[in-house]
Symmetry: C2
Subunit: 709 residues, 2 copies
């Protein structure tokens, strides 16, 4: 007996540990799956992206870098290796004549179009929700809005495959936003394994918040940044007790991704930056300028993109032919990008190059073609150079300007088409280009001043102690990304983790701060909020401050001459309720003691009422149109035993604790309650009597009107 009791108590203990640990197990699984998914996507996208140029002759499953590595080619240089076969070479054209280039160009464009065409077809046929970045929708989902199937299995599979194809096609899009969506799909799918999370929307959102953090973590290799992103941008009700779990999830995902090691390197961060970069305080001026530029270009980008998306929504031709749109955009992008070395390469490798300093091994590149390179004999010390440019830098300068314009136009037209497409990397690429351009200019000015004998402040080693163009590129990337997304803390933390050095927090922060201020001052909201507004999702922004002096009475329904539709507790018949349901469209009805004195007893949703009445009619033949509906428990005697239609008892569907406020409550408090408690409606009373109702829709309309006043 004792042993059986022991056994059961041990079982109990195990069960309670499992219950307490199920959240941890769930996020552990989510983290592992998210890391693995990200690794597979990264590897596949690289391989497919190289497929536009050629194929590994002896082992087709290798991308160019690994193909050349494994070929053990001693004369291997970045541009070429013997195992890697370009398409013209496959067709037998080895001489690099004009014809060779035409075939190369055609293959490049055709591959790109084929890939994106395949991606858009998959999305169209199997999972329409798989398009876009997904972050605006995730924001809405985490705020309590339910989009059925948005986080389902099919969306996950198609979005993953589509993302590989789309990013390989050379379209100006990033993998980062969709990665967040994919991670949330994983979180949603896994949460059904644990009933505690699968059956409770609020608990499930905890898992989804953690998943969003894991998504950013794998996208950038930034676990802390992921948590901050989830906290700042994605999550609406971020329960602090889950922060730790989110961090765990993000970290596990990051470690798994490192094991998969898609980039074949030992570095922890995506765009690893050399530690020797320095900056002086005077440089905060150009950094602030980059921030202002980021704010302006970000606002302009959002304006253009939203205009185009609105046009697409309203246009018949475009709206009904998303596949053709994708094909045309891909064709143009590929055809134009082909001719510029900076647009042709992938955005993330472009960013990596722009962030880098010019080391001795880079002096053959255009971007690092300086006069007076000083190569010190000590290998540890960095090489540096003066601010005098060679001809290569000028060439690179103009190519970068063209690249910036192309990236801008491409991305405006790309963000919103029906393939999985993110925003982060393209905007970082734009910013990195702009930053590097400014860095080169500032370097020239500093160099000129030093040459003319203005020493003092300027007596630093250009490109080492000060005016590192790579640092400008980094700051520029943060500025433009900040201008477009209006992220703040999370962006700084992500940049910090990307580059792995605390030294650069201040420049990044200055740029992001100016970008946000300028962007907000221009009055265009961030890209995600703009898309939420464009799609008219019911999203209640939880950051704004609304110093309204209005009170609830002025906002509530019914206003003016309308009447409030209520249900009387024990006095209405089934027919009357059905009539009320047919005549109105509201989602629920307050239940009152009687329509005369309007004392609230509860609230009942339309859906519950419909289900209860139809069930009642089905199960009991005596429930007819004339049956009385009872919401209280005191059903009179004569109605039960009597010969008339039997009464319908609906006490159990009545919400006995509806949220009520008086009519004099300031709207500020009302909005605060909607935000913090996630309500759908509040009943408005005066002296205990029901006056009206305020729903989430009323709040949204009020906030919009309030903005325009």
């Amino acid at each position: 007996f004792i042993s059986s009791q022991k056994k059961s108590s041990i079982l109990c203990l195990i069960a309670s540990i499992f219950d307490a640990g199920s959240g941890w197990i769930c996020v552990l699984m989510v983290g592992i799956a998210a890391g693995a998914t990200a690794g597979i996507i990264d590897i596949s996208a690289r391989w497919m992206s190289d497929l536009k140029n050629g194929i590994c002759a002896d082992r087709f499953w290798l991308d160019r870098e690994h193909c050349c590595w494994s070929a053990n080619d001693t004369v291997y240089k970045d541009a070429d290796c013997s195992s890697w076969t370009t398409w013209p070479e496959m067709l037998g054209y080895y001489h690099q004549s004009g014809f060779y280039y035409i075939i190369d160009f055609l293959c490049y464009v055709l591959c790109a179009v084929a890939m994106s065409g395949f991606a858009v077809s998959l999305v169209r046929v199997f999972a329409p929700y798989a398009c876009g970045s997904g972050i605006p929708e995730i924001k809405c989902v985490l705020s309590g809005f339910v989009i059925r199937g948005y986080l389902g299995k099919w969306t996950f599979v198609i979005k993953a495959v589509g993302l590989i194809l789309a990013s390989a096609s050379g379209l100006s899009l990033g993998k980062e936003g969709p990665m967040v969506h994919l991670a949330c799909c994983i979180g949603n799918i896994f949460s059904y394994i644990f009933p505690k999370y699968g059956n409770n929307e609020a608990k499930k959102r905890e898992i989804l918040s953690a998943s969003a953090a894991a998504g950013v973590s794998v996208a950038f290799g930034a676990p802390i940044g992921g948590v901050m992103f989830s906290l700042e941008e994605a999550s609406y009700y971020f329960p602090l007790k889950t922060m730790w779990r989110s961090f765990f999830c993000a970290l596990v995902a990051g470690i798994v991704l490192r094991f998969v090691n898609p980039f074949g390197s030992d570095q922890t961060s995506l765009f690893h930056v050399d530690y020797s970069m320095k900056w002086t305080f005077i440089e905060l001026v150009p950094f602030a300028c980059l921030g202002i530029f980021g704010g302006v270009i970000g606002a302009f980008f959002i304006w253009c993109n939203i205009r185009w998306c609105r046009y697409r929504k309203n246009s018949k031709i475009l709206g009904q032919n998303p596949v053709y749109e994708v094909l045309v955009v891909t064709g143009f992008t590929a055809a134009i990008a082909y001719f510029n070395p900076y647009t042709r390469r992938s955005a993330s490798s472009l960013i990596k190059q722009l962030f880098d300093r010019c080391g001795p091994e880079d002096y053959m590149m255009d971007l690092c073609d300086y006069q007076n390179k000083t190569v010190s004999s000590d290998k540890v010390d960095d090489n540096y150079h003066t601010g005098e440019f060679g001809s290569g830098v000028s060439t690179a300068f103009y190519q970068l300007i063209v690249a910036f314009a192309c990236k801008f136009v491409f991305t405006v037209f790309t963000f919103g088409i029906k393939v999985p497409s993110g925003m982060f990397v393209p905007s970082m690429a734009m910013g990195a280009i702009a930053g590097r351009l400014l860095g080169i200019r500032v370097e020239g000015i500093f160099g000129l001043m030093q040459k003319n004998g203005h020493t003092g402040y300027w007596a630093c080693q250009i490109g080492k102690d000060c005016v590192m163009p790579g640092l400008y590129a980094m700051v520029g990337a943060a500025a433009v990304l900040g201008g477009i997304t209006r992220m703040t803390v999370s962006l700084v933390v992500i940049m910090f983790e990307l580059t792995g050095s605390l030294e650069f927090i201040v420049p990044t922060m200055v740029a992001v701060m100016f970008a946000k201020w300028v962007g907000d001052a221009i009055g265009v909201s961030g890209i995600y909020d703009a898309h939420i507004e464009l799609n008219q999702y019911p999203f209640l922004d939880n950051k704004g401050e609304y110093p309204y002096s209005t009170v609830a009475l002025q906002v509530m329904q019914p206003s003016g001459g309308n009447t409030l539709h209520v249900i009387e507790q024990d006095q209405m018949t089934v027919g009357e309720v059905e009539q009320l349901l047919n005549e109105t469209t509201c989602n629920g009805f307050p239940v009152v003691v009687s329509a005369v004195d309007m004392f609230i007893t509860g609230y009942c949703t339309r859906r519950d009422l419909q289900v209860a009445i139809s069930t009642g009619r089905k199960t009991s033949p005596n429930v007819t149109t004339n049956s009385k509906v009872y919401f209280s428990s005191n059903v009179p005697e004569f109605d039960i035993g009597g010969s008339g239609p039997s009464p319908l008892r609906l006490k159990k569907i009545l919400d006995l604790a509806p949220m009520t406020l008086t009519d004099q409550t300031p709207m500020e408090i009302v909005i605060d309650m909607f935000r913090k408690l996630g309500l759908r409606q509040i009943l408005i009373t005066r002296n205990g009597r029901l006056l009206g109702i305020i729903t989430k829709k009323d709040i949204l309309r009020f906030m919009k009107d309030g903005d325009s006043i």
Copy 2:
């Protein structure tokens, strides 16, 4: 005319920009002041701390390190330099005989006792709130509890001076917790410059949250960690929109501190760790053990400390003689610490030493006395050694064990005495000692295995690729700090910023996670929550989850036979209201239409009522005990013009929007509303009629009872 209009619109614009920017200006000022304060405290504390040993002969205002630097002493070694004069030397004893040591010892102890005596006297006489760490109280203040004068000017001045004295006296306490309190004082003082923040408690809390972040930022040089700490630990209602501003504040404070440069070094972080440290996955086992140890020792520490604090509270002798207690504790601490090299030095320099690897310059120290040191000729590469110990390591090992025990006992008795005293650095020191001890042991085991030919996993360069005792010290510090404070994300982020390398996030996280799990499983709450409970502050924990099935009806007052005290809207006289005020102690009264039907019109606080009645009696002689009190605006005609006592109109003190809920609302929702909306009371209704009231006290009592069930 046009120009004047222009002028006024420009003025308007400036005013609106100032209004929008005032929050930023305020946190900027807070950041600068916090950084400067921290710098001054650090420098002064160093100087005063060295004063226990001696004085700089030619320039008394220099501490030992600067004294020796500026003396340009070529034969300078760490232990001695000619300019630095110890106290026995000042008294003419140059020969290091027994008498020299006795004088040295006596001076050391006397200086320590004098300093701490001065500190405790200052606190006693001028600002009793300046004692302790302040973090438990800051948590309560940020949750809405008002402690008058807790964040005032005097508290700030006395706490700053007392902190310098107390930390110089060699007591086992840290400067970090009090730094958070000081930063919050600064925030409070500066918020009064801006009426928008000074006059609104909720807005002021935004500034205080940012200040808390700045406090941690200057304490550890960790701006991101500061924001996370403020978010996770200190702030109750952390509005996400202020996160960015908190980050700015923390960063400004950090930059200013770096300008002040109290440590005279170029490093960004307090305990800078070498980058070459590595760890292997097998080492996660000892790291997890450290975490478990941290959880156990943390819980034991809290238990001892709380027992002692409770004893102090109840004991007559101790409670009334805090000065003597401080003197005795300081005397014992100084006398015992004097004889152990690891307890004698300051805790932060001890931590720095324990975190460090054993470089070639350290091989003369006990802690780094290894056999078979391999000194490579390449200066860049790190030196390493095998796991075979010299005799110095064994000596150090036993000294460290003693040091650990001393630190533990000292800190138990120190945390809670009436001087400014923090927890962070002492607990990190304990953890670092424990970690280093384990690291040395593991190193020995690995070394033995390698010697016996067990290669494979163990074939790493001990102390370089694996088993770096410094890393164990770091992980141990995080584990014990985690066990005592139960911080999670913020602790990992702070450790990450302290050491400046992403490489160590995983070990730290594992240790912190185990420490928290074990600590929570033992069932002792974190040190701050334990002290909040000890002092019975009205703090509603916002992290726990309470799956109660109770409804509001069961918790509300009045319960059982008591009656609810209400005010009738237009029917009571001044005398009746005064009688009600005298007979009851509640903080406020619901105002109803009439006591018969109990329809709520509003809520009125006791304080407002008292003030309004006494003002009414003073200003108008016709307001007598028989005057009628009107809360509605429809005061009858006859009462105004009549000869009787003139009516008292109290409409403006009536809160027309009291929060109401029905009696069937689950307590889970009620608690949630109290937490998220920061309420003090909720009125409970049924069918529109007032039934009772639930105050914050009821909630606290209910939660406590719920725990014990």
